[in-house]
Amino acid sequence: MSGFHRLVPVFAVVAGLLLLGAAACGDDEPRSLAVLTHDSFDMEEELLARFEEEHDVTVTLIEGGDANEIVARAILNAGNPEADLLFGVDNFSYHRALEAGVFEPYEARRRGELPAEFLEAVGGTLELTPIDYGFVDINVDLEAGLAELPSRLEDLADPRWRGALVVQDPATSSPGLQFLALTVALLGEGGWQEFWAALRANGVRVTDGWTAAYYTEFTRNGGESPLVVSYTSSPAAEVFFGELDEPPTRTLAAWPLLRQVEAAGVLAGAAEPELAGAFIDFMLSDAFQAQIPGTMFVYPAIPGTSTPDWWRWAEVGAESAALDASAEEIDRWVREWTEIMRR
């Protein structure tokens, strides 16, 4: 349409440049490895460069949302994956992925060093290799001046803590789902539903994700709620980013916690399955494991990995709760939770 020439030239030039750029971004390299991972994935650049050099490969990271979303994407493209490797599937999202058969078995070299309970948490199958783990618990703002702290989960429904807690929607948030699962594990069928109904009556705040909860609702960041569902590593992160000597928050750790294990797997139909396996081994290497706390703020899966000094604020003394649930069951929790909280 020649008539556009008066309006378009400025745009057209830039468009051309962009398209050239996009073409240049195409796969000219002989080999490339794509990793589908969650949004919180991070690592040291230098370390990645070393892997790329060693294997003569370019690594592309595809950040596809939270654990649920990346599993959804993997299933959507099952058999014809957009990546070679998926990292970030956890002990709640793995069922569906396994059912859909999106992974290929791979036995990592250091698999034997991983604690059995980590392996069990993601099905105990060769298709998944645990890389790190974390806990979700109530974080409390120590500067908010709370007179007393809840000692049992049920206390949160007590008027003393009316409107004090902010949680995440388990349908859209991974820590939200972890916390819901924790209530299921600790309170049992029937009990957890009552608990949440009471929480709602007690003015609990619900956000769609961790970010909104922690950064807009938590009193530490100018919000209204002194209690927030967050990671047990959050106090350590406060120390790290605030360059503080001591954390201004702490986790309650007043009850057993549910371990969230994050795992990696080679995607079935991957273009570079060997390289994908090599990357899993790389993720279990000492170098990678040691930088996990500082980059992703979770705990390295290989026992005895050396961690930075500030990471001691992330150590939790609480015992572990156990819970394994099928995809259908998790769906049912979320549905029922949605019934209770959103209708």
């Binding site: 349409m1 309006l7 440049l17 971004c25 650049e45 592309t60 493209n77 807009t216």
Partner: protein, 554 residues
Amino acid sequence: MKPGLRAGDGVWRVGLPAALALAVLIAWPLAAVLWRGVAPDGAPSWEAVLAVAGDRFYWERLGFTTAQALVSTVLALAVGLPGAALFALVRFPGRGLALALVTVPFVLPTLVVAVAFLQLAGPQGWLSDGLALVGLPRLDPRGTLWAILAAHVFFNVAIVVRLVSGVWANLDPRPEEAARLLGAGSLAVVRHVTLPALGPAVAAAAALVFLFTFTSFGVVLVLGGPGLDTLEVTIFRLAVRLVELPEAAILSLLQIGATLGALGAYAWLQRRIAAHRTQRPDRALPLAALSWRARSLAAGGGLLLALYLGAPLAALAWGSLSVGVDGPSLVHFERLFAETGRVSFIAPGDAVRWSLSFAAAATALAVVLGVTAAAAVARTPGRRGVLLDALLMLPLAVPAVVLGFGYLTTFDRGWYDLRGSAWLVLFAHTLVAYPFVLRATLAVRRSLDPRLREAARLLGAGPARAWRYVELPLMARGVLAGSVFAFAISLGEFGATSVLRRREFATLPIAVFDALGRPGGLGRALALSTILMLVTAASALLISRLRYREIGEF
């Protein structure tokens, strides 16, 4: 319709690029993912359909979605129309800059706006502090309909102001003068003379605001609460938990159907109210030429708009500059640019560059698509034209997450395996951007005197050249108004981009989102948002400059 000039001067030839683009970029991926959802085993699952149809919850969501969109639209018009009058009728110092700034809220990531809103009107916000000073209770709009409505107006008022003031500024003022001589008071003049003439522009703006608030996602997700989910959010919740893709697909169809219905009604309405009014050069008067009363009215309206739009932006900018109690500092910006040595590092410069590149390319494509689509719609008579018009707005009706998933499952093999390609992002941006060009162009085109085209034809111009030398220059204002929005939409696009993103071509909103998702990232997110704000304002300003140079004679 008899054969002749008005019906079908090669509708299909004109509309072909748009039709093709839409078929490949929307219809195919959408059909693929919806079919997969509705018919997971190859045949449609009526069970799921019945389950959705029988669930009162979903009907309530549809009702709520519609109601809040209607109220948001009315409110946005109420706030935006006086603003549009101000920009159209008063030539005040800094008008261009102010108009560019009005566009800014439109593109800001919702989460950032939510933070800004809370900083302003939250329980610990400035407003609450003020109320507390005089002994009134603090505000807590969180999780209320009010928060959603206020944010919707904040986001969308730019649509009303820009689209309407663009047309208003060029209305022939004589009918108003005549009405005044006939004894009509100021309000009566506005009601009986000005508003009818502005009809197409107001309707276009209202339709877009309705559409945007009907499919509202971020605002509702962040500021909403129990019972306040829109359909789009409900679909998102269902879709990301894959097992409920059938429900998500059915609800998507429901949303698309409802939106198309609304669009059809609007398209039909717009054909009815298309008002021809002579176009005149900019009628705005300098401030000094206004009466004292008009001057104070304009000042009052301007101040209100400036406060409503400016205060959250100011709160945001202030937030990016403040660290603790030590007063303003640039520490967030320094952190933003400081190499972290992590793979998560997104160089702000790169994000700006990618944002601008996508926006420029998407705008160019959107202009081509939008203008040809407008020509096709204008040349298709009767009910078919209405239908075409509604169909062409489809991209705004499709839930972003569904479109993103559609892309991932459609462009997935062989030479068209575009997963991970910047092309998909560009396509997605173009799709959400071009309806603005279409609407703005149609609004101007419908107010064009058809005789101008006929005059061109009689002077020897074929349909194409009549369009190029007469219609297009006369529509330039509309095309450019649409382009500003297309550019801004692309700059702020997040929904589809988030599914298609790659770190290698992360845009500013993606960078903001990324920063927010990481521990310690709020300050960086605010700093990035401030940069996004500045980039948007600068682009809007630049495009409006372009507009005056291009059609300076007008």
